[in-house]
Each structure stands twice: as C-alpha cells, then as structure tokens.
C-alpha cells in the first residue's frame, strides 16, 4: 500500500484494513493493496456486530456528517452525526437514500471511451494525447465546497492559465446573491436563526422543505416551537410545501401576489411600496403579518425562497435589517460567481467552438441546463467531452469518455457544511469497481500519471493538522472550529420586486422533495418515497388548483401538454390542496433518459420549461392517473379522533377509561421494559427521512411503479397529511405500527403468527405466517404490509444484475418471502441488541433508538419504556397534548401522538 505514508497512524491503518476486509467480504474483488490480516483480533471486534464510523456524504456539494453503520465491512445504514452542524444527529431523505447508490447495480463500473470499454490509463492518455491548451480546456462541476477540490482547481488554473472553470447547480443561490448585492452591495447568503425567531414570514420560501440545510433549519425551528411563548409562522406560497403545511397561517399566492405582498409589507413596515389592491385574504394576511413582525422586532424575520426574483431578496434584506432579524450573513462557500451566467457563457463558448476539451465532473447539464442553451448540441460541437459520474446520466451518455466515479463512502473526501464547517470523510468500504474519487479525476487532468489516492490528497489539504488532530478529525468527521464566522449586514436600501401583470397560467418549478434536481432519480428508494404533499410515487404531475382544472375542463389524471417558450412536456394533471389559483406547479428531477432502468421515463423533464414564466395547457385526451399512496378524500366525519388540532396551551380532553372485563395490568413498574413511542405531530415536517430510514434498516423491498399503482406499498411507516378546514390547519402524522396492547390483529390470526410479548410488542412471526391477511383486514390503522409477490427477489433495476443490492441488507432483520405479512417492529433488532448488551454487562437495558427516531430532524419521535416513569417517553405520555389514534376503539395503542397546535389569531 504505497499510499500509507508516515502521516497515517495506527488507527487509520486499522480503519483502512477494516474497509479492505469489507471489500473482500462483500465478495467484489480482492483488494489490490497489501492487506494486513488480524494476528490478534482487535478487542470487541465481533463478526456480525454493527460498528459505527463517523464519515460524511455530500448533498448538492455540501458535506453532511453521517454515522455509517457497518457490519462485516458492509455499510448497511447511514444515521446522523451529532457533532456535525448540518446533521445534528439526524438525517434527511437525501442522506438516507445516498446509501442505496453505493449498491446500485446501475453504477458505472468501468471507464468507457470511444473504442468502448477502456481503463484509466487510456483515458489519461487520451486527455493528454494533445496537451490540453490552456484556454481551450473547460471544467464544469457542481457546487464545490471541498477544500481539497478547491485547492486542486486552483492548481489547475495555475497549470492551465486561461482555463475555464464553471461551478453550476441547477438549483442555486443566484437570485439570493443578486438580491443581497442589490440591497447591500455584498453577495452574501442569509442564514436564519430560527431558534431565536418568534415570528417568521416565509414568502415563497420552504426552509423546512428539502435542501442542503433542511436538518439544521428544521431542528432550530422545532427547538423554538417547543419553547414558549408560541411562535407564529406565516407562509405565502404558490403551492403547498412542507413549510406551508406547518404554517400557523398560510395563504396561496401567485408570483404577482407575492410581489404585491412585499409592497404591502414594505409600506406597513415603514417603507414605501406601491399601494396596489390586494385580495381580501392577502390583505388580511399582510396586515397581521406586519403587525406581528413589528411587535416581535428583533425576534422576527422575513424569508424569501431561492427561486424568487432578486428584488424580493433585496426587499427581505431591507426588511430584516429594519426588523433587526435574527439572521446571520455568510459568503457562499466555494465562490459567489453566478452559476446560471457561468453555464450560459460556457455553453456559448462550446457552441462557438472555443473549447477543445470539456470535462464535466459530477454534473448533468444535458438534462438540467435551460433548454435554450442546447447543451447536448454544445457537447456534440466539442471535440472531446469527458464526463465523470457515479451513475449513467444524459451527459455521460453524450460524452466521448465516461469516467466512473466512486461512491463517497468508498473514498477519502472533505467538504464544508452550509455553515462552513469542514468535515473529513473516511471511506467505509473499498471501491467496488474500477472507480476513482472526483479529486482523482481532477488530478488526472493535471498529470496523466496521477494516482488514485484520495487519502493522500485529503491529508495534504489538512497538513496543518498534526497526527493527533487529524485522527480526531477523521474519527469525528468534523474539523473543529472550522465554521465560517457570520458577518453582519451593512445597511440595506429598500428595493422592491416589480408586479408582473397577471396573464394566463404561470409555471412554478420546484425541486422534487425526493429526487431534488434529478440527481436521485436513479435511486429506487427515492422514487418509491411518497411526495410529502401529493403522496405521489414513481412519477410527477402538473399540480393545479381545482378551479383552474374546472375552467380548463380537466379531471385528475388527464394527460396534458404544458407549452412554454416553444417547448412542451407531457404530464398528468392533479388537483392539489393549497395550490394558488393561476399557478401550475411541476417538480424538477423527473423525465430522465438514458440513465438506467429506475430513472428512465418516469415523469417528464420540467427543466425543459425552466425560466418560462407563462405557460399554456392543452389536453391530449389521454388519461393516466398518477401513482399515489394516498387518495384525497373529504372526510365528513370528525377528524378529531385522528388528527386533533389544539390552540397553544390547550389540552386534549381526557379519554374516558373504556370499561373492560379483561385484566389489563398497568405497564408502569412492570418487570420488563414496556416499549412505547410518542410522535409529536406539532413538529413533524413530513420530510420522509423516517420512511426511508425504516426501509433501509428493516430490509423493506422496493416494489416498483406497477406494484405501487396496484396499491401494495411496503413502507412500514407512512406519513399521512391532513387538512383540517374548520381549524384552517394542516399537518403531518407519521403512522408506524401502533403496537396496540389490545391488538385487533392478534386474535384473528388463525395460526398465531401475530402475538404479543412481555415487553408490550406486537410481534409478527414471519415463519409462522401463512398469509391469510386477516390481521390487516382487522387492523384499524392499516399498518401491516403484505408480500403479494416475492418482492425481496424481484428487481426494479431492469437487466442489471441486482446481486449487489443484497449487500445493503441488515443481517439482523429477516428478509421476508412471498405470502408473508410484515409490519413495523419498533426495530426489535435494536431492542434485542440493547438487551444482549445489558445481559452481557449485567446492566439495565440502555437507551434504544429506533431507525425512524434516529432519522428525525426535528426529534418528533420519542421511544422508550413506559415501565420507567422517569423516561422521556413517559414524560411525553403525560403531556397535555397527548392522545392515541382512534383511542375509542379500545385498542390501547403504545404508539401515541402529541396533538398539532396552531398559533392562530388571538380572539381578542
């Protein structure tokens, strides 16, 4: 192992040995490097046991600390890393789904060049065959925050003066930076401090929704929400988002409405806006929001979403300065160049034939670049295009050379979090295939003989850390005190957005909460994860307001053509709750092509309509209802026993004890722990991290679009969304198994496959189950899932050999066969592990954290024993907001909820 330098200490070597051993266990190939077998097995290293390592994975260029759960060398689960500011011990959906990419059979496995399958030497040879001319070489990457990569790019600049480098993300901060510049002259990003905000007015912003900083923002928001006095969240937005669902007061608004709202707020906050007419609801919204903002000066803020025009950001900067809002300002990491402009210039240069060699590093402009740039044509025009990516993309398919990138968990990496904190990420497993790290590809550009040693490069970047500090940084995945220092904002002048006249329908493009800009489209977990709002899976739709649908004569599921700017895409339409009239919302990330069996042909590529503004809709006469796990139903019965809404400080009515002839010993003080869960619906933001965390932890199969369309979803945990119209409230309710003390599923199973244990768990004995499905028929909560086919053996990965997928499976959880009922177990494997530890060490059973609980960014899920009166879960059960789902059925659920509160208008 030539790369093991003097800077690598004993612990790091051991870690690499573990990673190497992992690869051999996974049976991929014998590692090339020399391996040090155990002479004496390290203490506590038990085969089959789960070992936790700190590392990180990137999302949209930012690093996010994770804890990798590794068993016998295989990473089987990613959890949060408490010490990392973008994780705080929790995950989001993108972190959860990142793991599946490692084992994805669609991954690029070899270098491919014009002659076909090739190797890295020939790729390097091809790049350097004609020594790249400085000014005819271009590099396109996504957002780069990695200090190592930034340094290497600087080195490339030095090596090739005049070399063009563009960093571009389809979903970027261009507008926010431009707005800040307009208001203050400085290109900076606002970082709200939710933990200190009493009043938040979100204008087209979705801070609790998907994004690089979702976990940190959601945690801060939840922390503030739990503390008194009750905060208030105002949201005005074109279509319903996670943030809008959690709002205390929400109004749907078109982009013109949002601009008018800014003007009105500016006037009310003491500036000068155009005094246009607002619709009565919007007027009321503005009046109340402005009143609350002014009352809570110093603890109030206005947030504007990244897609809103720069002038709106400028207004927010002015307003927040005026409100002394708890907002930090920071320069964007990795440069503040406008990304869209950079890409446009690059595309123009390519079309003009100014570039000989284009290197696209982990970016997919052919798919996501604005259609008018014709990036595919630009690549065709370019003599040599080299695309490096982990999975096949439209761009890699168009390139001359395809370089396979390693999964982040296979390499040494470093990144920065959105707050600037640097993280050093160690590999958890050796490379599965002949792949290299992104930094290795950069090295190859400078030097054809560059090696594939990501460790050395990262170590070099952090050469200032001595051996001990380096080890500590690797072990914790965080470089201490590396966060950027927030800057104060110079005084801002008032700028206001122009109010565009209302024409026909306008288009809103939103990042998919599951696929983002399309980068997770190949990920089967992501595709099968329901959209938080529409519960759609495996596809996208055009979301419309019911009135617009009626006006257009459309019904749910009608397929339409959306025309804009001379281009059109074909999608089914659907009525969506909370949609502003006049706005059509389409999610980006779908409609991938030539990108593997999972992504191809699912939905339509909304990037084709980017920057379009107004659109026209024509019906095609075809129908294809969207695949959705939840139909929209209007419930005339009372929702109060399912999703009660309280005012702050209000308590749930005490349930009457149900008379019973049967003995029901209280759980408190029982000899065995009595497991129970409490879910706080007041802070559940519906992010779905728990859904996929559960899927990863419990070997829940992916069943594909056809089976999802049949209504056979297998997720053990679903997140229901409710709109309670009479209270003008909405919210999310995650529903795992209720683990009823008087479980209706148990007495009806003819073979006693559904039984109870002494710890209050409702167990499903897979190998006893014969599949009568009576348990699910009789389950009031419908939380059981049935293997209608042998799902664990079926593949959604097309022709690809999906054997690698099985390596992700948790060895502590049975893989269920056909014809067997399954359901949430409260992660019984984790309970068992804790109990084994307790037995071995003669200690009481320690803390057990379920997979969903570990994932939750807002810590809405509490788990523990109610036999222990001092446990957190016991305290939650005593909360005044506590209630059981459908409690009056007498099922005595162990999973219970804390009611959603709405800090509505005071009566006074």
């Amino acid at each position: 192992m030539s790369s093991v330098s003097a800077t690598l200490d004993r612990r790091a070597i051991l870690r690499m040995i573990a990673a190497g051993a992992a690869a051999s266990v996974a049976g991929c190939k014998a590692p090339n490097a020399k391996i040090y077998p155990y002479v004496n097995q390290p203490e506590n290293a038990l085969p089959g046991s789960i070992v936790r390592y700190a590392t990180a994975v990137p999302f949209a260029g930012y690093g996010r600390g994770v804890t990798g759960l590794v068993t016998d060398g295989r990473p089987i689960k990613l959890e949060g890393l408490a010490g990392h500011p973008a994780s705080l011990g929790a995950t989001d959906l993108f972190t959860e789904t990142a793991l599946l990419d490692l084992y994805d059979p669609q991954r690029l496995q070899t270098v491919t060049g014009p002659p076909g399958v090739a190797d890295w030497q020939s790729a390097a040879g091809a790049i350097h065959a004609r020594p790249p001319q400085s000014n005819r070489l271009a590099l396109l990457t996504g957002r780069v925050t990695s200090p190592t990569m930034l340094a290497m790019i600087e080195a490339l600049r030095a090596r090739y003066p005049g070399f063009r480098y563009v960093a571009w993300e389809p979903i970027n901060d261009d507008n926010a930076l431009a707005g800040a510049e307009q208001a203050t002259g400085k290109r900076m990003l606002a970082r709200p401090r939710f933990e200190a905000a009493d009043v938040v007015v979100a204008i087209g912003a979705d801070p609790l929704g998907p994004g690089p900083d979702q976990v940190a923002l959601a945690r801060a928001w939840a922390t503030r929400r739990r503390a008194g006095p009750p905060p208030r969240l105002y949201v005005a937005e074109p279509s319903l988002t996670n943030t809008g669902t959690m709002a205390d007061r929400r109004t749907p608004a078109t982009s013109a409405d949002l601009a008018r709202l800014c003007h009105r707020l500016a006037t009310l906050l003491g500036g000068e806006g155009i005094t246009g007419r607002l619709t009565p609801p919007l007027d009321d919204f503005a009046t109340h929001a402005a009143r609350d903002l002014l009352v809570a000066r110093g603890r109030a803020m206005i947030l504007v979403g990244p897609r809103q025009p720069p002038a709106m950001h400028a207004f927010a900067a002015w307003a927040n300065a005026r409100l002394a809002a708890p907002i930090d300002w920071a320069a964007p990491i990795g440069g503040d160049a406008p990304m869209g402009q950079g890409l446009t210039q690059l595309s123009a240069a390519l079309h003009a034939g100014e570039i000989d060699t284009l290197v696209v590093l982990d970016s997919n402009p052919v798919y996501a670049a604005p259609a008018e740039l014709d990036f595919a044509g630009a690549i065709k025009r370019t003599p040599m295009t080299i695309a490096a990516s982990m999975l096949p993309t439209e761009t890699s398919q168009a390139a001359d050379w395809i370089l396979p990138l390693s999964h982040p968990l296979e390499e040494w990496n470093d990144w920065r979090a959105p707050d600037g904190t640097a993280t050093i990420a160690q590999p958890l497993v050796d490379r599965f295939y002949d792949t290299r790290a992104a930094s290795d590809v950069l090295a190859l550009l400078a030097d054809p003989a560059a090696d594939a040693d990501s460790h050395r490069r990262v170590r070099q970047t952090w050469a200032t850390l001595d051996g001990k500090a380096w080890s500590a940084a690797v072990a914790s995945a965080v470089v201490p005190d590396s966060a950027g220092t927030p800057r104060s904002m110079p005084a801002a002048g008032l700028a206001l957005p122009t109010v565009a006249p209302v024409r026909g329908l306008e288009l809103e493009l939103r990042p998919s909460p599951t696929l983002w800009d399309g980068r997770r489209a190949s990920n089967a977990w992501a595709q099968e994860c329901p959209d938080p709002i529409t519960k759609e899976v495996w596809g996208s739709s055009a979301r419309l307001n019911g009135a617009d649908m009626a006006a257009l004569g459309l019904k749910d599921g009608d397929i339409v053509d959306l025309h804009a700017g001379g281009r059109s895409i074909r999608l089914p339409v659907r009525i969506t709750a909370g949609q502003a009239k006049g706005v059509v919302t389409v999610l980006t990330g779908y409609g991938r092509s030539r990108s593997g069996a999972v992504a191809d042909g699912v939905g339509a590529n909304a990037w084709a309509l980017a920057k379009a503004g107004d659109i026209a809709i024509t019906a095609t006469g075809e129908r294809r209802p969207t695949i959705s796990t939840e139909k929209q139903f209007v419930l005339d019965g009372d929702l109060a026993k399912i999703f009660p809404i309280l005012a702050p400080g209000e308590a749930m009515p005490k349930p009457k004890p149900e008379p019973s002839l049967l003995p029901n010993p209280p759980a408190k003080g029982a000899a065995a722990p009595q497991w129970a869960m409490v879910i706080d619906t007041d802070v559940c933001i519906g992010c779905n991290a728990c859904v996929v965390a559960c899927q990863a932890e419990n070997n829940v199969p992916v069943i594909g679009p056809d089976e999802m369309a049949m209504g056979r979803d297998m997720h053990w945990l679903r997140v229901d969304r409710y709109d309670v119209e009479e209270k003008d409230a909405s919210g999310f309710q995650p529903v795992p198994c209720m683990q009823c003390e008087k479980a209706p599923c148990e007495p009806v199973c003819p073979v006693e496959a559904s039984v109870h244990n002494s710890e209050g768990l409702n167990l499903q004995v897979y190998n006893r189950c014969i599949g009568t499905r009576t348990c699910q028929a009789n389950c009031p909560y419908k939380v059981r899932r049935f293997n209608f086919f042998d799902y664990s053996e079926r593949s959604v990965w097309g022709d690809a050999d999906d054997a690698s997928i099985t390596a992700q499976r948790n060895p502590d959880v049975t893989v269920r066969g056909r014809g067997v009922m399954e359901k949430c177990t409260y992660c019984i494997q984790r309970i068992s592990a804790a109990e084994h530890d307790a037995d071995a060490n003669h200690t009481p059973v320690g803390e057990v954290v379920t997979a969903c609980q570990a994932a939750c960014p807002t810590q809405a899920i509490t788990f523990g024993s109610i036999a222990d009166e001092d446990s957190i879960v016991s305290a939650k059960k005593a909360d005044p907001r506590h209630y059981g789902l459908l409690e009056d059925l007498g099922t005595k659920p162990r999973t219970t909820y804390l009611a959603r509160t709405i800090n509505g208008e005071d009566e006074a």
Partner: protein, 453 residues
C-alpha cells in the same frame, strides 16, 4: 294461491306421464343406461372442460407466483377468493336444507329434487373449499390451521374465526358426502341390478356396498338418513353463521354486526335455491324428467326465493338502520359509501337483484315460467355474488384511517379463477348426470305411491 294451471290434476308432485312405480326408475335411469349421450352433452363437457382448465391454470399460477396476480392491495387485502368462497358455500346450503329440513318436516315433494340438490351441495362446497387455501399467501402451510402435534408446539389460535371456519368447512364437506351417500345406496343397488356392462355393474356394485333391500337394511338406512338430517339442520346454520363470523368477529365498520350470522344463513339459502332452480330446469329438459319434476316444484321454490328476498331486504334495511340508530360515524360512513361511493352501481345492482327482481315471483305465472325462473335465478345468483364482494370491498376500502382508503379492481386472473370454478362445477354435474341417478328413485317411487292412493 297455487297457479291455476298447476292445479289441473289430483296429482300434485308428479305428472300422469309417470304412472307405474317402474316408470320412475325408467325415467331416471333411461338417460343413464340406455341412451347415448348426445352432441349437446359433449359440447357442454368440452366447453366446461376448457374453462375449467383455464381457471385451474390461473390457480396454478397463483400458487407459483403469489396473490399478487389478483387485484388485492394493501388495504383491500381480501378480494375475489373470499367472495367466491362465501358465495359457493352459500350455494351449497340449499341442497342440505332441501334434503334435511324438508325430510324432517315430511315434505315428500322434495323426493324428486333432493338428489341433485345434494350433489350440488357437494360440488359447491368442493369449489368453496378451494378458496380458503388458494387465498393464502403461503398455501403449502394451510394445514397449520389444524391442530396437529408438531415440533413447534404451536396450536391454532382458537379465537380466530378462520379456525372456526376451517372446521366448519371440513365438517360440512364430510357431512355432505356422507349424507349424499347414505341417500344414494338403494339407487346404486338398483343400477347394479340392471343389465349392463360388467364394468359398470362392478362399479355400482362396489358403491352399493352389499345393499340387498332387506327390510332390516331399509329400516337402518331410513333411521340413519333421518339421524343425519337432524344433524344437518344445525350444521348448515352453523356453517353459514361461522362464515358470517369471519366478518362479524372483527372490529371493522360494516362488518362488526350481530346481524351477520342469520343474514348469511338466509343469503345462503337464497342463492342455493336459485341454483337449484337452474339445475332443475336444465336436468328436467335435458334428461326428460318432466314427469317427476313438475311446475309445482318450481312454484314452491319460487315462494321460498321471494320469502328470502324479503328477509334479505329487511337485513339490508337493518344494516342501514343500525348505522343511523347507533349514530356511529364510521358505520354511517360505510353506509354512505355504499350508496354514493365509487362502487354505487354495484350496490344498486345488488339491491335490484337480491330484493327487487325476486318480487316478480309474486306473479303466479312467473313462478312456473321457465324463462322467468331462469332469469330471476340468475339475477339472484349474480346479486348474491355482488353482495359477497361488496361486503369485502366496502369495508376494506374505507376503514377507520382515511389515509388508507383504497379502491379494489379485479384482474383477469381473478375472473379466470371464478369462471374456472363455475365451469368445474358444471363439469362435475355433467359427469354426475351420466354416472348416478339424478333423482332419488326410491323416494320418488314412495311419493308416487302416495300420490296415486
């Protein structure tokens, strides 16, 4: 209030064309022993065989690939198989009731229809018995529902209605075979004693088990037959009650109703008699049994059908009433869903078939008109099948959790399996009609003797 044209003779249950006691035997046996089966017979065999093969192939695929071939989903976990099961077992009901209840109440007119009604029971229960096994996720372990000594030391869950159901079907099937066979003994002996091919005589001789027609044997046979009939009445009620418990012993809205057991018994009787009408009409026409299956028989059955239809109507009304009376929002929602949900056309069709259409039997002429009898009986059979599937769909599509309301639609395999069991039922009947006397000869002779007196 018997129809005028039925009353034109002193003989109520036989026609003058059948006069001597021997005529009965000749009428029943003639198609069996002496005539060759016609083209129509073989055509019927061919068609039903093809459909049977398709249906059983669909079952085979379901065994191999799993219940995913059906329309069931995670909310509506039950579908066609359970509906088919309940429907078939209901059809079996009439045969047992005709044989036992009418035997006990000394309704001699049952003599000419009880044999094929019992055969119908046997075949219907056989078809029904397929489904509880087929519908499982892991069919090979169906025997885990039986208590047998095993290394796991696990017994069935006695609180589960499915275990009661398992015993109900097993008992019912065994009983039906026994009852059918005891009634058959004198007749197979008669077949044995007629001239014919040696192989057939050996076959009937084996089945006759040494029946010689001695007074002692007649006495024992009669006693056993009556004793079994006494057992049958509670059994037939318990079977259908337990089928009702499959749903009622739950906590789902629309199922948890104390009305279900009696309502299922009446529903079974209802569909069973409709099937008896169809079979009687077919056999009478195909085998020249006009002399012993007379319009008056149909008149009597039609009266039972119209009475049952009224009880069915009352049961539906009771369901609605109890929902409104209890004021339970979940029950009310199910009732609302029945009338206004996506399945409303099926629900109205069911009400029409089960309640409205049978009222046509108030018209005396229609009670003996073959076309009216056929049409109304078919309507009842369709209506009862719709009722079975709707009981499943309505409740499972709308449980307590609105987030998990899902609709059900069947697949080709579902329909193929249903068609396959229908065809197999017909096929079994075709074989039965060529193999065994379709009417009980000795009992019909008894009836004729009484009528001529």
């Amino acid at each position: 209030m018997t129809a005028a044209h039925v009353r034109d003779t002193d003989r109520r249950w036989t026609l003058p064309s059948v006069n001597a006691l021997g005529d009965v035997t000749e009428t029943v046996l003639a198609p069996l022993m002496d005539r060759r089966a016609g083209k129509k017979y073989w055509l019927a065999v061919a068609v039903s065989l093809v459909i049977t093969v398709i249906g059983f192939a669909a079952m085979g695929f379901s065994f191999v690939y799993g219940p995913g071939l059906w329309g069931n989903n995670t909310a509506v976990v039950w579908g066609f198989p359970i509906a088919n099961y309940v429907w078939w077992i209901g059809i079996g009901n009439a045969g047992t009731l005709i044989s036992s209840l009418l035997l006990l109440t000394r309704q001699k007119w049952r003599a000419s229809i009880n044999r094929f009604a019992e055969a119908m029971t046997l075949f219907a229960v056989s078809m029904a018995g397929i489904f509880p096994i087929l519908h499982l996720g892991r069919q090979i372990y169906f025997y885990w529902m039986a208590p047998y000594p095993n290394t796991m030391g696990v017994w069935p869950q006695w609180r589960s209605a499915l275990v009661w159901d398992f015993w109900a079907i097993v008992c019912y099937l065994l009983f039906s075979i026994l009852f059918f066979y005891v009634g058959l003994l004198p007749d197979v002996a008669a077949l044995r004693d007629r001239p014919g091919k040696r192989g057939w005589r050996l076959f009937y001789g084996f089945l006759a088990m040494g029946w010689q027609g001695t007074p002692r044997q007649w006495q024992l046979q009669d006693r056993l037959h009556h004793a079994l009939a006494v057992l049958a009445v509670p059994l037939v009620c318990s079977v259908h009650s337990i089928v009702g418990f499959d749903f009622a012993a739950s906590m789902m809205p629309g199922w948890i109703e104390s009305l279900f057991p009696p309502y299922f018994v009446v529903g079974a009787l209802f569909s069973g008699f409709a099937m008896v009408v169809l079979i009687a009409l077919t056999l009478r026409w195909a085998m020249g049994l006009e002399g012993i299956i007379v319009p008056r028989h149909f008149d009597a059955i039609a009266r039972i059908i119209v009475a049952s239809a009224i009880v069915m109507g009352a049961s539906y009304a009771m369901e609605w009433f109890s929902a409104f009376w209890s004021g339970d929002p979940d029950e009310l929602r199910v009732v609302g869903f029945e009338f206004t949900g996506p399945y409303w056309p099926l629900y109205y069709a069911m009400l029409a078939c089960n309640v409205a259409i049978p009222q046509l039997f108030w018209v005396p002429k229609l009670r003996t008109n073959a076309w009216a009898l056929t049409g109304i009986s078919l309507a009842v059979l369709v209506g009862m099948w719709l009722e079975r599937i709707l009981i499943i769909m309505e409740t499972l599509s709308t449980g307590y959790e609105p987030s998990f309301w899902r609709l059900y639609s069947a697949t080709f395999v579902d329909f193929a399996i249903l068609a396959g069991t229908l065809a197999a039922f017909v096929l079994l009947f075709l074989i039965f009609a060529r193999l065994l006397p379709v009417c009980s000869m000795y009992e019909t002779r008894e009836l004729l003797a009484e009528e001529r007196r």
